[in-house]
Homo-oligomer: 220 residues x 2
DNA sequence: TATAATTTAGAACGAACGTTCGATAATCCT
DNA sequence: AGGATTATCGAACGTTCGTTCTAAATTATA
């Protein structure tokens, strides 16, 4: 209680939404710049000196805002995951049709992905680097996000009387969407709506006729 | 011409296939162990000391076999890519049906992926780390592999009179397959044949009915 | 077995790493 | 204005990094 104790949590609940504290605003800026650097060089490849240069702040000054490089990655991943999940829940509230609910999931994911491509890439690419408590917390968020999609898939199956592995279906869908970070080019590929429609069509039509008596893979 | 000159190419063409030279065999062992380490810690996160420990060879001794850590990654990626492409070409020779050719592509990819999961993960995950000549050479291999799949897709479209973006379709398919490295569990998910069937069905059924008058995404 | 070629390793290099410390500058409160 | 609090920084710490040098051990050749 006596120490100067920097790097505290500091963001109080329920305060005015946009302004926040001076501390929080500065931290948010740092997180944005750090996201750019992690995106360019990867977590392990980015040095604290790179990060401080990108933020226009001294190397030592950074440690006033967070206590380690590891925690910085944690803050980025946590914020990104929390935000995308928050938006998803809002959008799902107004819809009950199983087909549309999956389409909403896809659209929400792709919209956020393309609008925050660097953050989502850091989330996807640096998936296993956090260890212990920090890693466990992010892993829990990931599992929850996965579970939501799995539920949507199960409901869809039930509503249509289909039989296939929800697990493989959901993870294939994640693959289709998350792989975007390796190839998406806004000048060639469409916007989120267009991609969501194409991927949604492909995927939903695909799982719809799968496993119908194991004859689907026969020729002709 | 006077120097001891270690780290030469050394693998002669056309020699007896299995034995190879002493040098090549030892190098191959090192590549295998290095693949394990890169898989566990990532390229940037793995130190030369980690790699030497895994190979049971001294730190300095490693440099007799390759001239830098970067070149080591290059050797791993090049060998992996070359092998999977070689096998694909062999398998495609015997088949002319467009549908089946895509299924062969999927099966070949998944079989190799699951049999060489660590190497394929290193190939996928450390995609952008090689720079200059080395990076360009790997990128060229990747582009060729992509182009092959794109051609299969175009032929499929032509044969069935379909209209959709081959680019998005191919890259979505790559996403489905390559994302495997984040979730595949041999005890839960099936083997390559089973996965290839499920993904093949999903994907081919999916693109088959896509974009039919843009009505596919309508409700009910 | 002597000699040449190949293969290995100990020790050290300078550079870069993540983090800490104590002091200074800027801001806030009354 | 003045004292407390918040924010920033230069310099340095001890480690670890990729790589090199040189000499010794091992293997192949005669």
């Amino acid at each position: 209680m006596a120490s100067p104790s920097p790097a505290k949590p500091a963001s109080r609940r329920g305060g005015p939404r946009v302004p926040a504290t001076r501390f929080d605003r500065r931290l948010a800026k740092i997180l944005t710049h750090a996201t750019d650097v992690f995106y360019e060089k990867g977590y392990a490849g980015a040095s604290m000196r790179d990060l401080s240069r990108a933020s226009g702040m001294s190397l030592a000054g950074m440690y006033y805002y967070f206590e380690s490089k590891e925690r910085l990655l944690y803050l980025i991943q946590k914020h990104t995951f929390t935000t995308i999940m928050e938006r998803l829940r809002e959008r799902l509230q107004d819809e009950s049709d199983p087909d549309q609910r999956i389409r909403i999931f896809i659209l929400n994911h792709l919209e956020y992905f393309l609008a925050n491509q660097k953050a989502m890439t850091v989330l996807s690419h640096e998936d296993d680097v956090l260890k212990n408590n920090l890693g466990a917390e992010i892993a829990a968020l990931k599992r929850e996000y996965y579970r939501i999609c799995l539920e949507l898939m199960d409901n869809y199956k039930r509503a249509r009387g289909l039989e296939f592995s929800s697990r493989v279906a959901v993870l294939s869908l994640f693959g289709m969407m998350n792989w975007l970070y390796t190839w998406y080019n806004p000048r060639v590929d469409g916007d989120a709506d267009e991609l969501a429609r194409q991927m949604g069509d492909t995927f939903l039509q695909g799982i719809c006729s799968v496993n119908e008596g194991r004859a689907a893979s026969q020729r002709k």
